[in-house]
């Protein structure tokens, strides 16, 4: 009975609002679906923008967590929701990774979505224990000199961090052992404790440890130096030309949302991000606030899907 009631709720909600045009949009609350647990990076970003969007749109934007299968549960749910603008999704870089990693997905990662805008873009940092290596060149040289001995701890098999490490292997010819942990924090703990030699993860994981003098940040994965850390060299200028990995968060909707509705939501999101306070909060997460058009976001996702497919195949990672 309860199950039926719960299943019926969204149906009722859909019927009540499907026929309205963009002028009235939104006339009720918007579900902001995230594919990860509360408190994570995705959840935090969603809450940062949901708050000012609620004020701007005059209707509550309610963050709702549908965790599971690396965000696929949420993506599946959103792709099959009514394209009326009342179900939106916080997408992350994992959206493109999943497309490369899964044998089959119950949705098309490009065609089944309306892309609204990216929110933040953030690189990964290559860190080691303080004093363990002189530079990124030193690390890669030592890794090449003794193949299969140095270890990279990463936040989980098939995470963007993992694939970035594999890409570093492929592009530099180094041969690291890639050790999975449950999340970036666990990997950082392993680096602190001396169990692994390298961790590649976001600035939020690395910066506090660097500030405390426990980690050295050797390199950044973006093509150009990251504004927050201008002294950190890029992988592309040192050991791996053209290395360019920047992950992202953004907003998507089901395919087929009327253009006016999508534009209205995009305008509201961009207005929210223009607020210096909101921008500062996004920046605190180690991300650069990056409002974009829907086409730009779609093209970026398409490009990354292609890249990750190459990495998954070349590194011989089993698809799931």
């Amino acid at each position: 009975m309860l199950k039926k009631l719960m299943l019926a709720l969204p149906v009722v909600a859909m019927m009540s609002g499907a026929a309205l045009g963009a002028d009235d949009y939104p006339d009720r609350s918007i579900r902001f679906i995230i594919g990860f647990g509360a408190g994570g990076n995705a959840d935090t970003v969603a809450r940062i923008v949901a708050e000012p969007m609620t004020q701007d749109l005059g209707q509550p934007v309610v963050v709702e967590s549908k965790p599971g299968a690396g965000g696929n549960v949420a993506s599946d749910f959103v792709s099959k929701s009514d394209p009326d603008g009342y179900t939106i999704q916080l997408m992350v870089g994992g959206h493109a990774v999943s497309a490369a990693l899964y044998k089959s997905q119950p949705f098309d990662p490009l065609a089944d979505f309306t892309f609204i805008s990216t929110i933040g873009r953030f690189p990964f940092f290559v860190a080691t224990r303080a004093g363990a290596f002189e530079s990124i060149e030193d690390l890669i040289a030592k890794a090449k000199a003794a193949p299969g001995t140095l270890k990279i701890g990463h936040s989980g098999v098939g995470s963007t961090q993992h694939l970035t490490g594999e890409l570093m292997d492929l592009k530099t010819g180094a041969d690291f052992i890639h050790v999975p942990y449950k999340g970036g924090a666990a990997a950082a703990t392993a680096l602190l404790g001396g169990e692994v030699d390298v961790v590649i993860d976001t600035g939020t994981v690395m910066t506090p440890q660097e500030a405390a003098g426990s980690f050295d940040i050797l390199a950044v994965t973006s093509a150009v130096r990251w504004p927050d850390k201008p002294d950190v060299p890029t992988l592309s200028e040192t050991v791996s030309p053209d290395f360019d990995i920047v992950s992202w968060t953004g907003v998507g909707m089901p395919a087929g949302v009327p253009a006016e509705v999508a534009d209205k939501l995009r305008a509201s999101l961009h207005a929210a991000m223009a607020d210096p306070d909101v921008a500062a909060r996004i920046a605190k997460l180690g991300a650069k606030p990056s409002p974009s058009s829907g086409e730009e976001m779609r093209a970026m996702v398409e490009r990354q899907i292609g890249l990750w497919k190459t990495v998954v195949d070349a590194a011989g990672i089993q698809k799931r």
């Binding site: 408190g39 935090t44 599971g68 549960v73 909060r281 089993q318 799931r320």
Partner: protein, 506 residues
């Protein structure tokens, strides 16, 4: 140290901060009481509120919910065999039989006091030894975790009141259930029937099903109406001198175990409670009393899970590393407020660091004060006829399990596990080892395979690292002792029978 703690007290005793501490622990208490709704759900719902608070008040509020829920979790366990949180599963084992024999109020008082003492010990450890404890936690790598978990699995065979073989087979069932989901080392899916299971079976739904729902089915199918004689006079509420004496050592041991497990990232209150219970059974002179409302088995795990709830803040506050999902949320709240927690927190934000710690101290006193008068109210719950109570409980369980990760599959599974638990009880199999196997099995596999990957398949690493070797030794000793002691005691009985010239049939 005292000076910093006073600084913390001066922060937390400001009226508005004190109000958030009070609100947090009160909410935690209620959340813990509700079956299935855990601290995680409550904290994630309240996370947006912290936008409007200063960082210190935010963390004090959210932390209060977490350790407050440890108190509340015991209440439904004792009254209805419903573990409000996974860490209060063990509380069911002794607390529920006590309530059934009419001593619910007594059991609630004992757990409130044990919880308080355990918490205070945990706070003391945080104040005095946060930094060395964090350093110790970092010494635990994959081999140490592997052996710690192995030790736990051996101990699992001790926590059942039935035979060790039966308990061990139930632990194996738990391990098998724990296999469902993504393999942490390859990312491959195992036994994933629907996408909803890609991240595994939820601990909440397993615990609620095996304990709460199975008990409801059992009671509902009983033709005779359940009648519990509720005693509420002070004489019945207060422990006797002998009972009091029997509690002192278990509370102390529980607090120590809890403080240790809490500080290790990745383990936590639930494992601490199980371990404290297993230890009490192992060293008890009257192991037969367990499962019938034995006091040491009630107060040790309660003291342990509360101590663990406090010390689990150690890695978060000193290293900026969350040990579990709740701590990740609290770090999330700090980040939302523009503070990136890390090793420098204690230096850069002493007001926040010590304010939060002092709030644990104050919050636990508040919890003790609000818990004792409420005992009378809770106990009256038992005078409601069961057939009126259980539809409401089933509904609460379903809502709680659904809220955990918005999954209808989880709700269905809870009911399935309820049936399973009912059948198991029919055949006299205990549910507690299933849960322990479920929690520890995947941890063992993950850490064992990580060890093999890190040390290129070298088994000797378990014996060459001192902490790991100590754990191996403890495990082997425990196993040997468990296997040999029944044989020895049977021989003794045999001998004494022969000595008395009695018949040879035993």
């Amino acid at each position: 140290m005292a000076e910093q703690f006073l600084l913390g007290l001066s922060v937390v005793l400001q009226p508005h901060v004190l109000m958030y501490a009070f609100f947090g622990v009160l909410l935690g208490q209620v959340i813990g009481l509700l079956p299935g709704v855990g601290a995680i759900t409550a904290i994630s719902l309240l996370l947006p509120v912290t936008f409007y608070l200063d960082p210190t008040s935010s963390v004090i509020l959210l932390a209060g919910i977490y350790y407050g829920s440890q108190y509340g979790g015991a209440i439904a366990s004792i009254l209805l065999n419903l573990p409000g949180t996974p860490s209060s599963v063990v509380t069911c084992l002794e607390g529920y039989p006590l309530a059934q024999s009419g001593r619910a109020g007594f059991a609630l008082l004992v757990t409130a006091v044990s919880s308080f003492i355990g918490s205070m010990f945990g706070v003391l450890i945080v104040v005095l030894a946060a930094i060395p404890m964090a350093a110790l936690a970092l010494k635990f790598g994959a081999p140490e975790y592997t052996m710690l978990v192995a030790l736990g699995l051996v101990a699992a065979s001790l926590i059942s009141s039935g035979s060790p073989i039966r308990a061990f087979s139930m632990a194996l069932v738990g391990i098998a259930l724990g296999m469902v989901g993504s393999d942490a080392n390859t990312g491959q899916y195992r036994f994933v029937a629907t996408d909803a299971l890609a991240d595994g079976i939820s601990l909440v739904s397993l615990a609620m099903g095996l304990f709460g729902v199975s008990e409801i089915i059992r009671n509902a199918s009983n033709v005779e109406t359940r009648k519990i004689d509720v005693k509420l006079s002070y004489k019945d509420l207060l422990p006797t001198r002998a009972e009091l004496r029997s509690m002192v050592a278990p509370v102390g041991r529980g607090a120590s175990i809890g403080a240790f497990f809490g500080a290790l990232p990745g383990t936590g209150a639930a494992i601490a409670a199980f371990m404290a219970y297993a230890l009490e059974r192992r060293i008890s002179r009257t192991p037969k009393e367990f499962g019938k409302g034995h006091l040491p088995g009630l107060c040790a795990p309660e003291s342990a899970n509360n101590a663990a709830a406090q010390t689990s803040f150690i890695p978060t506050l000193t290293l900026g590393i969350p040990g579990d999902a709740v701590m990740a949320l609290i770090i999330g709240a700090l980040i939302l407020n523009g503070i990136i927690p890390g090793p420098r927190l204690i230096v850069d934000e002493p007001q926040l660091f010590w304010g939060v710690i002092a709030s644990f101290f104050v919050g636990n006193i508040i919890l003790l004060i609000i818990n004792i008068p409420l005992i009378g109210l809770w106990v009256r719950l038992l005078s409601i006829p069961y057939h009126r109570l259980y539809p409401a409980i089933v509904l609460l369980i379903c809502v709680g399990v659904y809220a955990h990760r918005s999954s209808v599959t989880d709700v269905v599974l809870t009911l399935v596990f309820g049936l399973l638990g009912y059948v198991m009880k029919w055949f006299r199999f205990e549910p507690a080892p299933v849960l322990l196997g479920f929690v520890l099995g995947p941890m063992f596999e993950e850490n064992f395979r990580r060890t093999m990957l890190l040390y290129s398949g070298d088994f000797t690493v378990f014996l060459t690292r001192p902490i790991s070797a100590t754990l191996v030794f403890c495990g082997v000793a425990l196993l040997a002792f468990t296997l040999i002691s029944p044989i020895v005691s049977r021989r003794k009985t045999l001998k004494s029978l022969k000595g008395h010239g009695g018949p040879f049939s035993v």
